[in-house]
């Protein structure tokens, strides 16, 4: 009798150049028909040695590298880093700076969740969602630009405060061959006041926009069929695997660093922590949608406070924070301070510190070891997305190829952060 042909599973390569790989994820998928038997994520294709680079630079030169870790939630990364430095230095930023940081953290959270929502919907096939989300992101990136001068890599948070106070007026659009004066006037309508007015206008508009997204997706039959009970994980397993952020909250664990280990002024603000019930893709979707609404609420409280309470935004310790440009031109001492800060930086006392913040993707931690020099002895970054990706196989096993895409986008990974 002739030997029967051996039936083997199909192994195929997903990425690193795949439209749904969210950057440079490479997956080796072993499939039986369309069912996933094994999924093996390969990482490291975007490794830029951020941690090692930081060891050869003064502390204040590394802030810009933090933006480039998770490049969709830039200011949150900076926040984790400057918090660690402040912890070692033992300084506290002025209260106004803390409010500004919280406001921008929440703006960043909305930015991140909008990109996530757009990409998630795009991966499931609802293409329009992507462009709707980018419409909103545009306004928030304008806020970044108005405050820091850069739309993405802001380098706005500094040890001891923030780089500068919020601007009193927004940049305006100018007429061009594509947009005449009338169209431009319409575009500039909500840019007449200060940055805070612009943000206030956004927060008025944003909840109705989220309602619109929800009408398109939340009760959509196809959307639910694609996401309910896909990539389920139990709360116990999620904790064991080191899940944090929306991934953990979607399993029903109420864990949020903004509440459990409050930093800055989060303990004075009113917000709720949404949790999911099933720990599936749909719960993660619902949790993130609600987080956007809560962030909107927090931003409004910050704007109200910031309008009423002017004040300094960075500590007046010129060994840490640079003097203003004006004094620098006149005062010899200020100029020396500036020169020293920009070249040598400052030394941190010997010791170690771990600072963690509630990053849009989970717990973003920075562990800093100082030997007393002006450069860190070791900088370790706890990327929020790393444990989530590590659990990827557990999430997709037994699902189908289409679900791989759904699950990848639902865990919200960004390779800048995972590969570092």
């Amino acid at each position: 009798m002739e030997k029967l042909p051996e039936i083997r599973n199909y192994t195929f390569n997903f990425g690193p150049q795949h439209p749904a790989a969210h950057g440079v994820l490479r997956l080796i998928l072993e499939v039986d028909g369309e069912t996933i038997v094994r999924a093996d994520p390969h990482i490291g294709l975007l490794h830029r040695a951020t941690e090692k680079l930081a060891e050869s630079k003064p502390y204040n030169h590394t802030i810009g590298y933090m933006d480039r870790l998770d490049y969709v939630s830039m200011m949150c990364n900076e926040h984790g880093y400057v918090l660690a430095i402040e912890k070692l230095l033992g300084v506290t930023p002025p209260i106004r700076a803390q409010y500004i940081r919280v406001m921008f953290d929440e703006i960043t959270r909305i930015l991140n969740h909008l990109l996530w929502l757009g990409a998630h919907a795009l991966d499931i096939g609802a293409m329009s969602m992507f462009l709707y989300c980018f419409r909103e992101r545009e306004d928030l990136l304008d806020c970044y630009e108005a405050a820091s001068g850069a739309r993405m890599h802001a380098t706005y948070y500094r040890p001891g405060g923030v780089y500068r106070d919020l601007p009193d007026k927004m940049p305006q659009y100018k007429p061009s061959i594509w947009h005449n004066a009338k169209e431009v006037a319409k575009l500039n309508e909500n840019r007449q006041g200060s940055l805070l007015d612009f943000i206030w206008d956004f927060t008025n508009r944003f909840p109705t926009r989220v309602d619109e997204y929800e009408t398109l997706l939340t009760d959509n039959r196809i959307w639910k069929q694609r996401t309910v009970n896909i990539g389920v994980i139990s709360p116990e397993r999620a904790i064991a695997l080191g899940f944090t952020g929306p991934m953990l909250r979607a399993c029903g664990v109420e864990w949020d660093l903004r509440r459990k280990q409050p930093y800055e002024v989060y303990d004075q603000l009113d917000f709720k922590i949404p949790i999911g019930l099933r720990g599936d893709t749909y719960s993660r979707y619902l949790v993130r949608i609600e987080e956007m609404r809560q962030s909107n609420h927090i931003i409004r409280q910050c704007v109200e406070w910031l309008r009423k309470n002017p004040g300094p935004v960075i500590i007046n310790n010129q060994k840490i924070a640079p003097p203003s440009r004006v004094t620098m031109k006149k005062s010899m001492e200020a100029m020396i301070h500036h020169f020293k800060l920009m070249t040598e930086g400052y030394a941190l006392p010997e010791g170690e510190a771990y600072a963690a913040i509630e990053h849009p993707k989970g717990e973003f931690g920075v562990y800093l070891v100082s030997d007393g020099a002006n450069k860190p002895y070791r900088l370790k970054i706890r990327a929020a997305g790393f444990p989530h990706l590590a659990a990827f196989e557990e999430l997709v096993k037994g699902h189908m190829i289409s679900d791989v895409v759904t699950v990848i986008s639902s865990i919200d990974i960004v390779f800048g952060e995972i590969d570092r």
Partner: protein, 341 residues
């Protein structure tokens, strides 16, 4: 002898007119799609090439024709090249039996519906062969999905057509249109509503459009069955897909919406007022509506998963059509007015 030459010449001219107009329509359908989807997505779509971007499709065609045709070394070269030809050939050939108005039809054959059904089934071979011949894992998945999907949906589609045949008592498309005469409420969409909806859904699935585009599955299989194709060969698949979209819209207009019949028939004031409008215009308007719906769906829905599509086909569409065939059978038997009197 002379008359035969004239006859053949006349047919050739008709074919030429249909094909040229069809290809132009496809070119501008891609433009329309980009515009419509653009406005749905708060963009403005192409507007740089020519006035209002109207030359964009021409530029696209030129670009695709100038691209290198890459044939993967490990592929089955003969099948690789023949596959897009099958796709486009069947897509265009199907137009032979479509009646454009009372007299304009290339071939008024008696088995018109069967011919359409046969050609739309054949078109799947193009996809299947392309996926297999490419010797790529992604293409293979696309082809397998396309094959499974087409087989399941053809059954539902076939049953929907059976209902129409029973109602009209004919396989000839012109006869089917005449059987619907008598105005908007006499068209088959009303008595055959479940069949119409099933056919519509099956038609979208057959053409691999959202929400059923798993064979291409942009975010999963990158481009599915045509992932290895480039240049002209890719353009042929593209043409075939869009030709099929127009074809399905035309078939729906003919079978369920009275083809070239005026919607104002039987309405005292409006019928004479619109009597001068040629049947072709009504036909095109009805077609355009369904084509627009294709684009509308694309801008709105997420994509189904492969097994969910199967479930929809087997567990919902086929039972619904089967039940309604019985209902139609009884209605025809008892001469239910006003449709089957």
């Amino acid at each position: 002898m002379m008359t035969e030459i004239l006859l053949v010449g006349g047919i050739l001219i008709k074919i030429l007119v249909i094909v040229v107009v069809l290809l132009l329509a496809v070119a501008y359908l891609t433009f329309l799609e980009r515009k419509v989807v653009g406005y749905i997505q708060t963009r403005i779509g192409p507007n740089r090439v020519g006035p209002y971007g109207l030359l964009q499709p021409i530029a696209d065609v030129l670009k695709l024709l100038n691209k290198e045709l890459i044939i993967p070394r490990e592929s089955n070269q003969f099948l690789f090249i023949i596959a897009p030809m099958i796709s486009i050939g069947t897509a265009i050939a199907a137009w032979a039996v479509i009646p454009f108005d009372k007299i304009q039809v290339l071939a008024n054959v008696n088995a018109g519906i069967l011919y359409l059904f046969a050609l739309s089934s054949l078109g799947v071979y193009g996809v299947l062969i392309a996926g297999w011949a490419s010797n790529s894992k992604y293409a293979m998945f696309g082809a397998l999905r396309a094959a499974a999907q087409s087989i399941s949906y053809e059954i539902g589609m076939g049953f929907a057509l059976v209902g129409v045949m029973m109602a009209a008592g004919s396989l000839n498309l012109q006869t089917i249109i005449h059987a619907q005469a008598g105005g908007f409420w006499h068209w088959y969409w009303l008595p055959l509503m479940p069949l119409f909806l099933s056919y519509w859904i099956c038609g979208i699935a057959e053409t691999n459009r959202l929400p059923f585009d798993v064979a291409e599955g942009e975010s999963e299989l990158v481009a599915g069955f045509h992932v290895e194709y480039s240049g002209t060969a890719f353009a042929l698949f593209f043409l075939a897909e869009y030709t099929n979209m127009i074809l399905i819209s035309a078939i729906i207009a003919i079978l369920f919406f009275g083809g070239w019949l005026s919607p104002f028939e039987g309405i005292p004031g409006l019928q004479p007022l619109f009597a001068w409008v040629p049947g072709l215009v009504w036909f095109l308007l009805k077609m355009s509506f369904f084509i627009f719906c294709y684009l509308w769906f694309r801008g709105t829905f997420p994509r189904y998963r492969y097994d969910q599509i199967m479930r929809l086909g087997w567990k919902i569409l086929i039972p619904v059509t089967l039940v309604w065939i019985i209902v139609i059978g009884l209605a025809v038997q008892w001469h239910l007015p006003p449709w089957f009197a």
